[in-house]
C-alpha cells in the first residue's frame, strides 16, 4: 500500500506542477513581482527539485535563507486562492467535523435500516410488500441526493418550519453538538441517508434472496431449526459476505462530504474543498486533499480485503495455503 501511495503521489505531484500557475501578477503587473511570486511558490526550480523540497518540508519543515537564518515553513505548502496563507492540512481538518458528524449519523441510520428493509423484502419476496418496497427503492436510488435536499428543505424547513433552513453559525460558545446545531443536522442527515438506505436494501434483498434458496438453508430447516434461526445463523451470515465491504466503503466515505447537500444546508464541511482547489488552481491544497483521500481509499481497499475473512472465515488473504 505504501509503495502504491508513493507512486500515486509522485505522479500527482508532477502532473500538478506541470499545470500553469495562476498567480496574480501584482501591482502594475510588474514582471519581477510575478517572477518573485513564482520563486516564492517554488515554481522556478526544476521539477525534481520541487519534488525533493516538498518531501523535505514534510519531514523537516524549515528553510534556511541566504543569510543562514532558519525559518519554519508549512509541511504541505500554503493555500493561495481558497484560504490565503492557510496550511492545507489545517484547512481540511478544520472542516472535517461537521462532515464526519453528518456522515457518521447518516451511516448509523442508513446501514442498519437498509439491511433491515432488505431482509424484510427478501423474506417477503414476490409479495405485495416486496413489490411496493422494490419500486420505492428504485425510485430512491434513481433520484439524486440534491433533489431530496431541496424537497426536504422546502417541505420541512420552509413550509412546516420544523427545522432550520441552514446550519446556524457557531456563535457564543456553540459547538457542533449544541442542540440547535444538531437539530439543523437532521435534514442533511436524512438527505444523505435516503440513497444509502435504498442501496443497502436492494443489495441485502438480492443477496439474502439468493441465500435463502440455497440447499444449506433447506438442510438447516430440515435439521429442525426455526425459520428465524436459519435466517439469522446461516442466511444472514452468508449474505453479508459481499455487503460487508460495502459497509466499509461507506464508513470510509465518512470523510468526504457531499457538495450539494452541504451547500443547500449551509454545512461548512469538506465537500467543496477538493473541487474549489481544482477550479481555483490552488495546487498545494489540491495535492494535500487528493493525497488524503487516496490514502483513505487505499486503506479502505486493504480493510475491505481483510473484511472478507471476517465475514467468511473460509476466505483468507495471502499466506501459503494449499488447496485442500
Amino acid at each position: 500500500m505504501a509503495i502504491t501511495f508513493v507512486i500515486i503521489f509522485t505522479i500527482c505531484f508532477f502532473l500538478v506542477r506541470l499545470m500553469p500557475v495562476d498567480i496574480s501578477q501584482g501591482p502594475g503587473k510588474d514582471p519581477t513581482t510575478y517572477e518573485k511570486m513564482r520563486q516564492a511558490y517554488g515554481y522556478d526550480k526544476p521539477l525534481i527539485d520541487q519534488y525533493l523540497i516538498f518531501i523535505r518540508n514534510i519531514f523537516y519543515p524549515y528553510y534556511k535563507d541566504a543569510n543562514g537564518v532558519t525559518y519554519s515553513v508549512s509541511r504541505f505548502g500554503y493555500s493561495w486562492q481558497i484560504d490565503y496563507m492557510a496550511e492545507p492540512n489545517k484547512m481540511l481538518f478544520s472542516k472535517m467535523a461537521p462532515t464526519v458528524i453528518i456522515n457518521g449519523i447518516s451511516i448509523l441510520i442508513s446501514i442498519p435500516l437498509g439491511i433491515l428493509i432488505g431482509i424484510y423484502m427478501a423474506l417477503k419476496k414476490n409479495k405485495w410488500q416486496d413489490y411496493v418496497l422494490s419500486v420505492l427503492v428504485i425510485v430512491l436510488i434513481s433520484v439524486p441526493a440534491f433533489v431530496y435536499a431541496f424537497i426536504l428543505q422546502y417541505s420541512f424547513s420552509y413550509k412546516l418550519n420544523l427545522f432550520p433552513t441552514t446550519m446556524p453559525p457557531l456563535m457564543n460558545g456553540m459547538s457542533w453538538f449544541s442542540p440547535s446545531v444538531q437539530k439543523a443536522m437532521v435534514l442533511p442527515v436524512i438527505a444523505n441517508s435516503i440513497g444509502s438506505t435504498a442501496v443497502f436494501s436492494r443489495f441485502m434483498r438480492a443477496e439474502l434472496s439468493e441465500t435463502l434458496t440455497s440447499r444449506f438453508m433447506i438442510l438447516a430447516r430440515s435439521k429442525g431449526m426455526s425459520k428465524f434461526e436459519a435466517v439469522v445463523k446461516h442466511g444472514l451470515r452468508n449474505s453479508m459476505v459481499p455487503i460487508f465491504p460495502m459497509i466499509l466503503g461507506h464508513v470510509i466515505g465518512i470523510f468526504s462530504g457531499s457538495i450539494i447537500v452541504e451547500q443547500v444546508f449551509g454545512v461548512p464541511g469538506v465537500g467543496k474543498i477538493f473541487l474549489d482547489s481544482i477550479l481555483q488552481h490552488d495546487y498545494d491544497v489540491f495535492l494535500f486533499v487528493g493525497m488524503f483521500y487516496i490514502l483513505i481509499g487505499l486503506a479502505g481497499g486493504l480493510l475491505a480485503d481483510i473484511s472478507y475473512g471476517l465475514a467468511d472465515p473460509r476466505i483468507r488473504v495471502g499466506g501459503n495455503f494449499k488447496n485442500e
Binding site: 502594475g28 514582471p31 519581477t32 520563486q39 516564492a40 453559525p169 456563535m171 449544541s178 444538531q182 461548512p268
Partner: protein, 887 residues
C-alpha cells in the same frame, strides 16, 4: 445485535454531549442585520484585497480618512471628515529645501497641489482602545510598500492620479527589473526612451517569454502576452515577409541560446543535445541583448520554408542587430495595430530594457510623513485637487502593525514574505471602524458587532447613524436556499434573479441598484474575417452582411429595449448610450454627464428623432415610430432592404434565399442560463421581425465560450454581449475601451485596432468642427483637455477658462460616444442594474440611489423592528413572508 446496540448507544451519546453546550441567546442585541454572501472571503487584508468579497468586512470595520455620505437633502452626496479631522490643507509653503530635493520638486510649491497636510482625528482608536496615531499610518504604508511583501494593493500609491513620491521606487528598490521599453518612449518622433531611472546597462532586451502589456494590448489573442505567443500565433494568412521575419527571429533566439547560453546549469536544458532539441518552452525567458547579434555569430534561415541546414550554406546566413531590427519592424508594422506600428522605431515596441531600480531608497524618502502624533503630510508626485485627494483617501491602508508582523510568514523558497493578518479568524485582525469583527467561521458565517471604542458613537457627529448593532453574514452558495431564508425572515436582503422578478418585480420592497455597466451586443464587422467564417459554413449561410452599416443599424432599430429589459434581465433599464446615468462630470456637485446638453445630444446624433424621423426619405410620415428608445421597426425594415440591395452588388455579398447565421458567443449556454436563452429568443425574434418582410431569415446560433472576450479579440465570432463600466467619476476614461487602439479588450472587431486611422468629425458647441482620428480624440479627453484647478475663490477669468475647457471636453466626449454608436458595431441594450428586496425589518437611508453612497449603506440603515419584535412579526406570519413580499 451487539452492533445494533452499540450504534444506538453511540447516537444517544452524541446527543447527550450536545445538550451540555451553550446556546446563542443574542439578547444583548436589538437591531441585527442578517445578510448572505455567496463566497467566503479568503482574506480581508487592506493590503492584498482583490475581490469585492474581500473588501466586505473592512466596509464595516474600517473607516477612511474621508468618507462619502448622504447630503442633507438625501439626494446627493457629500464628503465627510472621519479619521481626518478636517479637509486637506496645501502645505507647499512648509516644504524645506531638503525635502524639495528629496522628493524631486522644483519651483514654487505654494498651492501647487503637491503637498498636503491632513489633520487626524485624535479620538480614533483601535477596537482594543489603543489610540491611532500618525505613525500607525506611516508604519502601515511601510508594510504595504514592502519590497519583500509584494502586496497587491501597493500600486494604490502610484498607479492612479494619487501618486505618493517615491512609493513606486521604494517598492521596486533593489531589483533589476525588465521593464517594457515602449512605456518609456515619450517622444514618438524619434522613439528615444526616457526613464525615471537609469537604463541599467544601456541595452535593449529580446525576451520571448516575458509578459508585456504591449503584447497583451496589441496582440491579445494570447493571455500570456509574450513575444513568443505573438510570433507563434501570427495569422495563417500573414504576408510571406511576416512569416519569414517571425521564423528568423525564432531561429536567431534558438541559435543564440544553444551556442551562447550556459545550458548545463539549468535542468530545463538537460536533454538538449543538438540545436533542434531546443523546444518552444526552452526558448522562453532568456534575456538576449540585441547588440550581441553583432558580437556573436548567429545564423538564421534564408528561406521561410526551409530550416537551417548547417551542411547547406544556402539555407542560412549570419544575423546582425540591424537584421533583427528589420525583422521586428516587418513583423510589428504588418500587425497593423497600435499607435506607433508604422514608425521607423517600431522594432523597439516588443523589447524590454533592464532597469536598475535604485537600491538605496529608504522608506524615509517615501512621501508620507508624520508631522506630529495627529497630522500626516503627503508629498505627491502628481498634482491633485483637494477633492480628488479626499476621494483617494476614502479607502484606508491602516493595519495593526504588531499583529501584522507577528502573523508574517516567510515562504519556503525565494525572498518573499506574506502575512496571515486578516485571515482565518477574528483574532488575526484588529478593527477600528464603527463595527468590529467578533467571529469568523470560514465558509459559514461571520459576526460583526458595534465597536464601542469607535469615536463616532461619542462625538455627536453621527447622531441617528449606525442604528444596526450586529451584522450576521452567512455564506449561502445556493440561491434557492437564500430565497427560502429571506422568505422565512432569516435574511434582510435578497438579490433577485430573472425568475424572481416575475414574482417580486412589483413588490413595494424592491429596489434597484444601478451599476455603471452598459450591456451591449457587439458585432464582428470585419468583412474579410466574416467572409472566411462564412466559407466554413454552408453555401446557404451568410455572414458578410454584418459588415454592412445599414444592416447593423437596422438590427439596432429592431430592438425594443424595454421589451429586452423585461424579457432578458433582472431589473436592468433600457438604454441607448455608452455612458449611463451613473457617470459624473463634477464630483463636487454630482452633475452627471447624461444631464448635460452634450450628453443629451448624443441620442439625436445617432438615432435622429425616431418619433418623427423618416430616415431621410425611407419612410412616409405615417410609417414613423413614436418612441425615443432607439426602436423603429418600420425604418429598420427599410434599412434591411437597402442593405440587401447594396450587398447584392458585391461578390461575396448576400444572395436571395440565404440565411444570416449569427454565431453568438456567451459565457453560459442557453441551456444553462435562462437569461441567455431569453435574450437570444428575444433578439432572434426582433431581428427576424425586420428581415423577414424582406425575405431574409436570421438565425442566432449560441455557442458557449468561457473566454469569449479573447475569442472575439481574435475575430472568431459574429456577435457577443460586451459589458463595460468604469469609475463613475471619470466618464472620459471609460472611452478607452472603445477608442484606444492599444486597449486589449476592445472587441468591436473591424473597428478594433483601427481607431488610430479612422477619422471622426466633431462639431463643438460654438459651431466649429474638427476632424481627427478616434484615438487622437481620446488623447484630447484624457490628456489635452484637462480643466485647470480652481482655487477656493476663483477669479472670473479662471472660471471662464475652466468652463471653456470643460465644455470642449464634454463636446469631444459626446462626439466620440455618438461616433462609436453610429458605427453600430457596439449596440447598447440596457444599463445594468441589480434588483433586490429589502425585508420589512429594515429601511434604507434614502429612496434615491446616490452615486458613491448608494442608498446610504449601513450608516443610514434604519430598523422598523427590534429583533424581538421581528420574531413576533414572523411568528404572526407563520414564518412565511412570500405573499407579503409580492405586495
Amino acid at each position: 445485535m451487539k452492533l445494533k446496540t452499540l450504534q444506538i448507544l453511540l447516537l444517544i451519546g452524541l446527543l447527550l454531549v450536545g445538550c451540555k453546550s451553550e446556546e446563542d441567546s443574542g439578547s444583548e442585541y436589538n437591531y441585527t442585520l442578517n445578510v448572505a454572501l455567496t463566497n467566503s472571503p479568503k482574506a480581508w487584508n487592506p493590503h492584498t484585497w482583490e475581490t469585492s468579497d474581500e473588501n466586505y468586512i473592512p466596509s464595516y470595520t474600517t473607516m477612511g480618512l474621508y468618507q462619502t455620505g448622504l447630503s442633507d437633502d438625501r439626494k446627493s452626496f457629500k464628503i465627510l471628515n472621519e479619521m481626518a479631522l478636517s479637509t486637506p490643507v496645501d502645505a507647499g509653503k512648509k516644504v524645506s529645501t531638503a525635502e524639495k530635493q528629496k522628493y524631486g520638486y522644483t519651483g514654487q510649491l505654494n498651492d501647487a497641489g503637491l503637498v498636503y497636510d491632513v489633520e487626524l482625528n485624535p479620538a480614533a482608536k483601535w477596537e482594543d482602545g489603543t489610540p491611532i496615531k500618525a505613525k500607525d499610518y506611516v508604519e502601515s504604508l511601510k508594510r504595504l510598500l514592502s519590497p519583500n511583501m509584494s502586496n497587491f494593493r501597493a500600486d494604490t500609491f502610484w498607479a492612479s492620479n494619487f501618486v505618493v513620491a517615491n512609493a513606486e521606487a521604494y517598492y521596486k528598490q533593489g531589483r533589476i527589473t525588465s521593464e517594457e521599453l515602449y512605456k518609456y518612449i515619450v517622444n514618438t518622433n524619434d522613439g528615444v526612451p526616457t526613464t525615471r531611472d537609469i537604463l541599467f546597462d544601456n541595452t535593449y532586451i529580446l525576451n520571448l517569454g516575458l509578459f508585456s502589456s504591449y503584447f497583451a494590448n496589441i496582440f491579445p489573442n494570447q493571455k500570456q502576452g509574450s513575444l513568443f505567443n505573438v510570433l507563434a500565433s501570427r495569422p495563417r494568412a500573414a504576408k510571406p515577409e511576416v512569416e519569414f521575419a517571425a521564423k528568423r527571429i525564432l531561429d536567431a533566439v534558438q541559435y543564440y541560446i544553444f551556442n551562447y547560453v550556459e545550458l548545463s546549469n539549468n535542468s530545463k536544458y538537460s536533454d538538449v543535445k543538438v540545436m533542434t532539441d531546443l523546444n518552444e518552452e526552452s526558448l522562453l525567458n532568456v534575456d538576449i541583448d540585441i547588440y550581441s547579434f553583432d558580437v556573436n555569430k548567429v545564423l538564421v534561415r534564408t528561406n521561410a520554408d526551409i530550416a537551417i541546414d548547417l551542411n547547406d550554406s544556402s539555407t542560412y546566413e549570419e544575423y546582425s542587430t540591424n537584421a533583427l531590427k528589420e525583422d521586428l519592424t516587418t513583423f510589428v508594422s504588418n500587425m497593423t495595430a497600435g499607435v506607433a506600428f508604422q514608425s521607423s522605431w517600431c522594432w523597439k515596441l516588443p523589447l524590454f530594457a533592464h532597469m536598475q531600480n535604485n537600491n538605496t531608497v529608504d522608506f524615509d524618502e517615501v512621501g508620507l510623513k508624520a508631522v506630529d502624533d495627529y497630522a500626516l503630510r503627503f508629498f505627491l508626485k502628481q498634482k491633485m485637487t483637494v477633492e480628488d485627494l479626499q476621494f483617494s483617501l476614502t479607502s484606508n491602508w491602516l493595519v495593526r502593525t504588531d499583529l501584522y508582523d507577528k502573523l508574517t510568514k516567510r515562504f519556503s523558497s525565494g525572498e518573499l514574505s506574506a502575512t496571515a493578518y486578516a485571515t482565518d479568524n477574528a483574532n488575526n485582525y484588529m478593527s477600528y471602524g464603527p463595527y468590529k469583527l467578533e467571529s469568523f467561521q470560514k465558509d459559514k458565517a461571520f459576526v460583526i458587532v458595534k465597536n464601542p471604542n469607535w469615536y463616532g458613537y461619542h462625538d455627536g457627529k453621527h447622531v441617528n447613524q449606525y442604528q444596526c448593532d450586529r451584522v450576521i453574514t452567512q455564506i449561502v452558495a445556493n440561491h434557492e436556499t437564500e430565497k427560502i431564508m429571506f422568505m422565512k425572515g432569516e435574511l434582510d436582503t435578497l438579490s433577485l434573479n430573472k425568475s424572481d422578478t416575475k414574482d417580486y418585480g412589483r413588490s413595494s420592497r424592491i429596489k434597484y441598484v444601478p451599476e455603471p455597466y452598459t450591456q451591449k451586443i457587439s458585432f464582428n464587422s470585419d468583412r474579410e474575417t466574416l467572409r472566411r467564417r462564412q466559407e466554413q459554413t454552408s453555401d446557404n449561410d451568410n455572414k458578410t452582411i454584418l459588415n454592412n452599416l445599414n444592416f447593423r443599424k437596422a438590427l439596432s432599430l429592431a430592438i425594443d429595449r424595454r421589451e429586452f429589459a423585461n424579457n432578458a434581465t433582472a431589473g436592468s433599464q433600457p438604454f441607448t448610450g455608452l455612458l449611463n446615468n451613473q457617470y459624473m462630470i463634477n464630483a463636487k456637485n454630482g452633475e452627471t454627464y447624461r444631464s448635460t446638453a452634450q450628453g443629451k445630444s448624443v441620442y439625436k446624433k445617432v438615432y435622429g428623432q425616431l418619433g418623427g424621423d423618416n430616415g431621410g426619405t425611407l419612410l412616409n410620415p405615417d410609417e414613423t415610430g413614436d418612441n425615443h428608445s432607439g426602436y423603429n421597426k418600420n425604418l429598420a425594415i427599410k434599412l434591411v432592404k437597402q442593405a440587401i440591395e447594396e450587398e447584392k452588388l458585391l461578390e461575396d455579398g448576400y444572395r436571395d434565399g440565404q440565411t444570416v447565421t449569427i454565431q453568438f458567443l456567451t459565457s453560459q449556454s442557453k441551456e444553462e442560463s435562462e437569461t441567455v436563452r431569453d435574450g437570444i429568443n428575444y433578439l432572434e425574434s426582433a431581428f427576424n421581425a425586420v428581415t423577414e418582410p424582406n425575405g431574409m431569415h436570421v438565425s442566432i446560433i449560441n455557442k458557449k465560450d468561457g473566454d469569449y472576450y479573447n475569442t472575439a479579440n481574435r475575430g472568431a465570432y459574429d456577435m457577443i454581449y460586451s459589458i463595460w463600466g468604469g469609475a463613475t467619476n471619470n466618464p472620459y476614461g471609460l472611452m478607452q475601451v472603445y477608442i484606444d487602439a492599444n486597449f486589449a479588450k476592445n472587441c468591436e472587431y473591424g473597428f478594433k485596432g483601427h481607431q488610430g486611422e479612422i477619422n471622426l468629425e466633431i462639431e463643438f458647441s460654438d459651431g466649429s468642427k474638427t476632424t481627427k482620428t478616434y484615438y487622437a480624440w481620446f488623447d484630447d479627453i484624457v490628456k489635452n483637455l484637462i480643466e485647470p484647478s480652481l482655487s477656493a475663490n476663483p477669479a472670473q477669468s479662471q472660471l471662464d477658462e475652466y468652463n471653456r475647457v470643460h465644455n470642449k471636453r464634454l463636446d469631444v466626449l459626446a462626439g466620440v460616444e455618438a461616433g462609436v454608436l453610429s458605427r453600430f458595431e457596439a449596440i447598447p441594450l440596457v444599463a445594468r442594474s441589480e434588483a433586490s428586496l429589502n425585508s420589512y425589518k429594515v429601511e434604507d437611508g434614502t429612496q434615491n440611489f446616490v452615486t458613491f453612497v448608494g442608498y446610504g449603506g449601513i450608516r443610514e440603515t434604519k430598523f422598523n423592528f427590534t429583533d424581538a419584535e421581528w420574531d413576533e412579526f414572523l411568528s404572526h406570519h407563520n414564518y412565511d413572508l412570500a405573499e407579503e413580499y409580492k405586495k
